[in-house]
Structures are given as C-alpha cells and as structure tokens.
Symmetry: C3
Subunit: 138 residues, 3 copies
C-alpha cells in the first residue's frame, strides 16, 4: 500500500461550475495505481466541489440558478465585508461541500457515465483556487 499527494490549481476562475474531471483523472493516472481511494479537498470557504451531470449544459445552468435561489444574495446578512456576494458564497460552499471521496477500481475512478467533477466558484471576481488531492492504494 502506498499514497500520493498533489494539488490542482484553477488559476483564474469565473462564477459557476468549472469541470475538472479530466485534470483529476490525469493526475490519478500519473500515480500508477490500480485500486484505491481518491480524496479531493477544496481549500477555500467561498468555493466548493461537487459531482454532477456532465452532459447537458442546461442542467449546469439550472443547478447554478438553484444554488443561487437556496442561498440568495440579500441585504439580510450581517457579514458583507467583501460585498453582497461574500456571505452567499460561504453559504453555497456549505450547501455543496468542500470534499469528495471517489474509489479507484481497475485503474479508473468509479464515476458513473454521466458524472463529472466540478469546482464551484461562488465569488463574482476571478480567484485562484487550490484543490488538494490524496490517493491511497496500490
């Protein structure tokens, strides 16, 4: 059994879902393991990670709109140091979560046919986001 650590940097984000499936799969392939467990961890409180439908752009837009409805911009927040998109960004990160665990089997992540891995940028202006990776297996 062995382990590997790494990170993926998304240097210049735009708001919404940014697919990182290929970058994650490439990193995993580079570790040369066949079976194991991959963990992704987003090191931010206003960006997050999720797994969703990777085929229909309309589904991605509906998902972004739903997240914005559940945790809306509003003047009801006490914390607004960085503007009106500050607090909703934190709430949207809680709603969607900052870590993912995906088994590796037979050399491939066990993602279903329609599952993609996404970084969610919840702030309006571009950010540099770092996702820590950990793989254990053999």
């Amino acid at each position: 059994m062995r382990q590997a650590g790494g990170e993926i940097v998304v240097a210049d984000t735009r708001p919404g879902l940014i697919e990182i499936t290929d970058r994650v799969a490439a990193w995993v392939a580079g570790q040369g393991m066949r079976d194991g467990l991959l963990t992704l961890f987003c090191r931010h409180t206003s960006a997050s990670l999720l797994i969703q439908e990777n085929a229909a752009p309309a589904a991605r837009r509906d998902l972004e709109a739903w997240i914005a409805r559940v945790a809306p911009e509003s003047d009801a927040y006490e914390h607004d140091d960085e503007g009106p998109d500050d607090m909703p960004a934190h709430l949207r990160a809680v709603l969607t979560g900052v870590h993912l665990s995906i088994p590796l089997a037979g050399g491939r992540l066990v993602l279903g046919t329609w599952q993609g891995i996404y970084l969610c940028e919840h702030r309006r202006r571009p950010h540099r986001r770092t996702i820590a990776l950990h793989l254990i297996g053999e």
Copy 2:
C-alpha cells in the same frame, strides 16, 4: 494494511429513502477487517446517499417532503429532457451528496445508535442503482 472493493446494486428502486445499512454491514463483515475506513459512492446523478435517523418512519417521510420542498418540481427549469422530475432529481442529489465515509473500529462501523445508511431515489420510475464500496484497513 489491505483494501477491498465491491458494489451494492439496488435493482428496482422506488422514490424516496431506501435503507441499505444491513447490506453495507454484511459486505463489510465479509471482508474480515477490524479497523479501517469504508467509503460508499453512488454512481448516479439523480440518486444519492445519506445517513439519517433509522427508527421513526415519520422522520423519513418528513425528510422526503423537505427534500422535495428545497428542490421542488417546477416549470422554471431549462433542462427537462426526461420529464418534470429530471432536473429536481439532480438538485436533490447535490443537496444530499453521493459519497459517504464511515470509519470501522473494533469490527463495526462507527454508526451511532440511530444512524442508518440510505440510498435516495429521486426519480419517479424504478431505476437500477449501483453503489461502489471501498474498504481499507486491517
């Protein structure tokens, strides 16, 4: 240290929460490990996994109704290729999540007394759902 992989198939789902605690515990017991980490991963974008109260059927019904309120059927969605329950199913999967990590200690999952593991089917018609399992430990 060693690892094991497997899967649980729920062949013919109905909408709502389907308890799989016993099936998961049986698979874990079959691996003959005492301590470790179990990961469950739902390979779908319109079904999900969660841990909740396993005693009161009323709590399960309230939870199903709440999920439906937070991510309702509506004519506001752009993506409806497979009908009105298509997009809400994706949203409900994001709300609840598709992976679970549960430590194993002394031969048992560390679930609390009232915690059960559930597959959530968010589509109306029956589906065949696959949950990948990964256990590492000794």
Copy 3:
C-alpha cells in the same frame, strides 16, 4: 502505512457552530504521521460537521440563521416526538452532513487559511456529542 482511531467528545453543547479545529489538530499531531487522510464522523442524527470561515463571528451567525431558514421550525412536520426542534435538527444534519475527509500533508491538515472545522449542534438543549476520528498514512 498505518492507521489510528480515536474520538472527540463535546460534552455539553449549545445550539449552533462549535469550533473543534484545535482539538482535531492536536489529536492528529499526537499520531505522529506526516502524510495521510483524516476522516471525521459525527455519530448523531441531530448534530453535524462542517468546514467554514473561522475568522468572522458575523459569518458564523449568518450561517446559523441561513441553516434555520432552509430547514425551519414549523408545524408542518409529522415527527415531533421530542418537540419542535426535533425534526428540523435532523434536516439540518442532512443539509450540512456528518462526515469530513481532510488530507494530511507535511505534518499538517491541508485546511486553507480561513477554514475551521465545526460541530453543529441542532438541538436546543445541551447534548453530549461524539465524533469518531480515523487517520491513515505514515
């Protein structure tokens, strides 16, 4: 490769977010590992775990208020065996989740600068809450 198990007990909770970052980091430091994967698991259905902004008290209050809006107290619940805060507590635990996975790299959890680990108490009266810990690495 080796693993370690443990638990953190929060003996006398109050409603809302309770930061446990320092206790978690101290337990991890005591295991003497440099690289690995930490898993936290909350053994309850009316308390949960989350990672959020650890600097601004106002952000914590906004987060608590948002959780209460998304899963409100209401007379619409069928399950109220233990009072009006019973069912919302279960819903809030589902909203936020009961497990966290955080890689360890170079002797430190890869938490971002502003990320803290929180236990969320969703019941009004004080409870004794147990969080199981699992660390694998070397």
